[in-house]
């Protein structure tokens, strides 16, 4: 074969780029080959179909938020005016102002913040610990313990609400306080605590703290499961080398394993925090007094806005929704920053059913 290829004609040459002249298929032919065929059409139709569905459902998810936000700025007149939809005519910030002033909003945020952050931190750490113990250590009863974790998830706390309440209303550890107080059948003459046979823990943070610290709070079984799946994917060599270097079990866990699992822990913290933040079940179960202002107490119609007129049912609904918006405002901020971790954490967990 003789080399017929000649040197390519250089059209333009600059320092970084070079344009060479060569026989190229005409533009229209190239476009035709690329876009006018079956494969491309199928892909196009599929893409359109996909976007229609995704945008439609995204609309379903976001539309309630739009209506809530827009109705929160409406004055009471707008709810009897049939021409007003979504865009307020009498723009007002009164709803926010009175909820802020009359519903003890700041107090509720403060209390719930303390409750949620401490509960979520405790749950994240404890679930990480339990998940690590289940994933990395071989001991008798490991599998049974894991089944028990699943079991604790399966019975909903709603079924147990009375006994949960009674447990913490008349709190006692394995009958010890009853024994000391003389309430038991065996030693009725013993009376150390002066007749007190149980402790009332309701209206304090202790019940939730106890449930969190023992990995029994809301959906903690799910968190333990997620952490366990995550730690099963962590190579054993990491800990082994740490042990060889003379690090103890706990030091290894704190210094090596915990920093590794930060993305997963952020996911769990996010779940635990936001579910505790909007929780009604535990807060209404354990906090029976209204003096303890939590988020559930914010949802009310402020007295200054309590007017009776033709559109008052709509207006009251709008006020309640505004309360809801103010409750989730901190969560929205957190979600905007952390949603990346939420999805990454779940993806990295390598969750499988085995």
């Amino acid at each position: 074969m003789n080399n017929t290829q000649t040197e390519p004609k250089v059209k333009k040459e600059t320092k970084n780029t070079i344009k060479v002249e060569f026989d190229r298929t005409p533009f229209w032919q190239r476009m035709k080959a690329k876009f006018v065929n079956k494969n491309f059409f199928i892909k196009l139709i599929w893409a359109i179909f996909r976007y229609v569905i995704l945008i439609g459902i995204a609309y379903i998810i976001l539309f309630p938020f739009f209506t809530k936000v827009s109705s929160s700025f409406m004055g009471p007149e707008d709810f009897v005016d049939a021409t007003v939809k979504l865009i307020p005519k009498n723009f007002t910030l009164d709803t926010y102002k009175y909820i802020f002033l009359e519903n003890k909003y700041m107090q509720a945020v403060g209390n719930t913040m303390i409750l949620s952050i401490s509960a979520a931190l405790l749950q994240t750490f404890v679930c990480a610990m339990i998940g690590y113990g289940l994933a990395k250590f071989k001991f008798k009863g490991n599998k049974i313990l894991f089944l028990l974790v699943i079991f604790s998830m399966i019975i909903p706390h709603q079924t147990l609400q009375l006994s949960l309440f009674m447990k913490f209303r008349y709190f006692d550890i394995l009958g010890i306080i009853q024994l000391l107080g003389g309430g038991s059948q065996w030693l009725p003459q013993l009376n150390v605590t002066g007749g007190v046979t149980s402790i009332n823990l309701t209206n304090t943070y202790i019940p939730l703290a106890l449930l969190s610290a023992t990995g029994l709070a809301f959906k903690n079984g799910l968190y333990i499961f997620m952490m366990r799946q995550f730690y099963r994917g962590v190579p054993n060599e990491l800990e082994e080398s740490a042990y060889i270097d003379g690090s103890g079990i706990f030091k290894t866990f704190l210094k090596i394993i915990l920093p590794l699992s930060v993305p997963m822990m952020i996911t769990i913290f996010l779940f635990a925090f936001s579910w505790q933040w909007t929780d009604t079940f535990y807060t209404s179960l354990f906090f029976t007094r209204t003096s303890m202002v939590l988020m559930k107490n914010v949802i009310a119609i402020p007295e200054s806005l309590n007017i009776t007129y033709a559109g008052s049912s709509m207006y009251n609904a709008a006020i309640r929704n505004t309360c809801g918006l103010m409750i989730i405002a901190p969560l929205v901020v957190i979600y905007l920053f952390c949603q990346r971790y939420l999805i990454q954490g779940i993806e990295r967990s390598g969750m499988t059913a085995d």
Binding site: A47, Y51, L54, I57, A58, I60, I61, P64, T67, S70, S71, A82, K85, V126, M129, I130, G133, F137, F139, K140, L145, L148, S152, I154, Q158, T159, L162, S163, M166, K167, L210, L211, T214, G215, L216, L270, F271, W277, T278, D279, T280, F281, S313, A317, A318, N321, G324, I327, V332, Y335, Q339, I343, I346, E347, S349, G350, M351, T352, A353, D354
Partner: protein
């Protein structure tokens, strides 16, 4: 002399080694107990007594003595259960309606969340944004917020009503529905599926907001499952000339089937905490009435027992079809 010392040394190290292995085993076992200690203590001290007492309350009535400082249980036998099932005018009705609703909702949630997870798993423009939007309900539409949502559908109807001036009440309700049953029936008329199916589909479509709200975690679990399928399998499928439809049913579906089982159970357990659960809200209402707290416990146990038995049977049937990939 030298040899003897050598032998001794070897023996020594062997002994040491054996002892060390043993102690390491013990050490890791101890570590396991230490790490899971919070759960073990909590389970024994709090959880088991709570479950047991819950059973106990359902067969007793509570009498408070010492001005509420302590209480006393009075044995009532199966009276609470009998009252719940035969005397209470509403319970059995609400229970059957609630169970029917659960049977209808669970497949819808599972299919919907799997469908969306498959869509969100594909590469496309704006995937991150869509994912962020689809997981909004997981974080923001729980507890209090879903309670508010549930209590006012009227405002939503009012806002989404685009007809404006001149609409009367009858029209507004029809506008609020995304699709009317008539449309679906028209669509299904030629398919010979029957009116029941048409009603089911239209009820789900009109309830889509609720379904979307309840399928967030399921979507996450499905997505995690989809991510764990090796891309090499899809590649070889593609090379062999399988269509996307075939790939889904022959590869994705079997590989994701353990997740379907997990999500099936999770959805049902989660339904107990949902604020749209009519049985649970009725039980809560009974719980609030004076002197009926143990009755509500009996009701809750009846509901839970029926559901969990059904779940176990269904899970046992499903697990026969679940495909587990053999690893390593």
């Amino acid at each position: 002399m030298n040899k003897e010392a050598d032998v001794k040394l070897v023996q020594n190290t062997a002994n040491k080694k054996r002892r060390k292995v043993h102690s390491l085993e013990k050490k890791t076992a101890r570590g396991g107990y230490l790490f899971t200690l919070p759960f073990i203590i909590g389970f024994i001290v709090i959880y088991l007594p709570v479950v047991f007492e819950s059973f106990l309350y359902s067969v007793t009535t509570i009498e408070r003595i010492n001005a509420g400082e302590s209480y006393q249980l009075v044995w009532a036998g199966l009276a609470n259960y009998r009252e719940a099932l035969f005397s209470d005018p509403n319970y059995s009705q609400i229970l059957t309606a609630g169970l029917r609703q659960l049977v209808l909702d669970v497949p819808a949630i599972l299919i919907f969340s799997l469908f969306i997870a498959v869509l969100l798993n594909q590469k496309m423009v704006g995937r991150a944004a869509f994912r962020a939007i689809f997981f909004v309900p997981v974080i923001l539409s729980t507890g209090l917020i879903s309670q508010i949502d549930y209590s006012n559908t009227s405002l939503m109807t009012y806002m989404s009503d685009t007809e404006g001036i001149g609409t009367n009440a009858a029209q507004t309700t029809s506008v609020a529905e995304i699709v009317s049953a008539m449309d679906i029936e028209y669509l299904f008329a030629n398919m010979k599926i029957g009116g029941g199916m048409a009603k089911y589909v239209s009820s789900i479509l009109n309830n889509i907001y609720n379904i979307v709200n309840r399928s967030g975690v399921q979507m996450l679990i499905f997505l995690a499952g989809l991510q764990s399928i090796s891309p090499a399998i899809y590649e070889s499928c593609n090379v062999e000339g399988a269509s996307a439809w075939e790939t889904f049913w022959k590869i994705t579906f079997p590989m994701i089937s353990p997740m379907i089982l997990v999500n099936f159970i999770y959805t049902i357990i989660d339904a107990f905490t949902s604020s749209t659960n009519s049985v649970m809200s009725y039980i809560n209402q009974v719980y609030g009435e004076a002197g009926k707290d143990t009755l509500s416990v009996a009701m809750a146990w009846i509901y839970f027992a029926i559901v969990i038995v059904a779940v176990l049977i269904a899970a046992a049937l499903m697990s026969a079809f679940v495909f587990y990939q053999r690893r390593d």
